[in-house]
Amino acid sequence: MEFRLYLLQRLTALVMAPLVIGHIAVMIYAVQGGLSAAEILGRTQGSLFWGAFYGLFVLAAAIHAAIGLRTIVQEWLRLEGAALHALTCLVLFGLLALGGRAVYAVVAA
């Protein structure tokens, strides 16, 4: 199971790399000539593309972070078994909920 988590963390990193670059590139483009909520929302609201872009980003980041924090907690707090599993799930679903809510807020028309 540990190795599968290791693999999943690397794969989510692969997914995130282009998304990070795309996110930063659009940010740089978007702030040219000032930054306004209306301009951002005008681009994202009702957009399937940006919904999928940031939805995938949230999914990858939640998985990636949950596995990474699991390793840190395991090594630093010596947590294992059910407690470690529960904490990993809490981080995973917590990040999914927070990220999902944010994506919904900017995409929903």
Binding site: M1, E2, F3, Y6, E75, W76
Partner: protein, 233 residues
Amino acid sequence: MTTLVWRGGEEGAFERFEVPRQASQTVLDVVVWIQRNADATLAYRYACRVGMCGSCAMMVNGRPRWTCRTHVDKVGEGGLEIAPLRNLPVIRDLAVDMAPFFEKWQAADGVFAPTKTRDEPVAPVQPAGAARLAAAAGIECINCAVCHAACDVVAANADYLGPAALNRAWTLQNDVRDGARSARLAAVTQDGGCQNCHAQQGCTAHCPNELNPTASIAGLKRMAVRKSLGLGG
């Protein structure tokens, strides 16, 4: 020269000795002098005195070292603090229990699995082949457990197989004569396997034979990932 030496088991304390300084003196010379001239009950371990047997490793001023090849003038002009190897149970004084270390070699399948009998001709191994070169880079391990003591992941995770066992497994994965590579790949990716390495390179920084267990472990990770994703290798 003031020398502090660990006395006792897991619970214990440093004992202070004054040891005469000599030219070309090694840390092992210091320990031997204490046992022969100051306190005959000092427990420690050594055999070859020339850096081949891997039995005299200890913590010297906080770092794991092969004491027989560590000159005092390189590490301890300000005094020495000698302790048993980190990350292994202390038996007494400077002697640690190496059993957990070698149990991890077994758990990592660090055993050659022959594919031929003695009646068959010797298998040809290309000296310049990529696999042989990879194996050669890691094969001069003397099992001294210095890397095991240097590794913070071993310290943090009791299940981690550690750099020595994984380095050994890597050399066998690159041995064309070996017949257990698939089983060994499963062994080194079990919980506690190669995926736990954070590539901090404490093993590589301290290996007395200047091996690079971190690179070996990275090789195992690559091999295992490729297999998991169906990319061969």
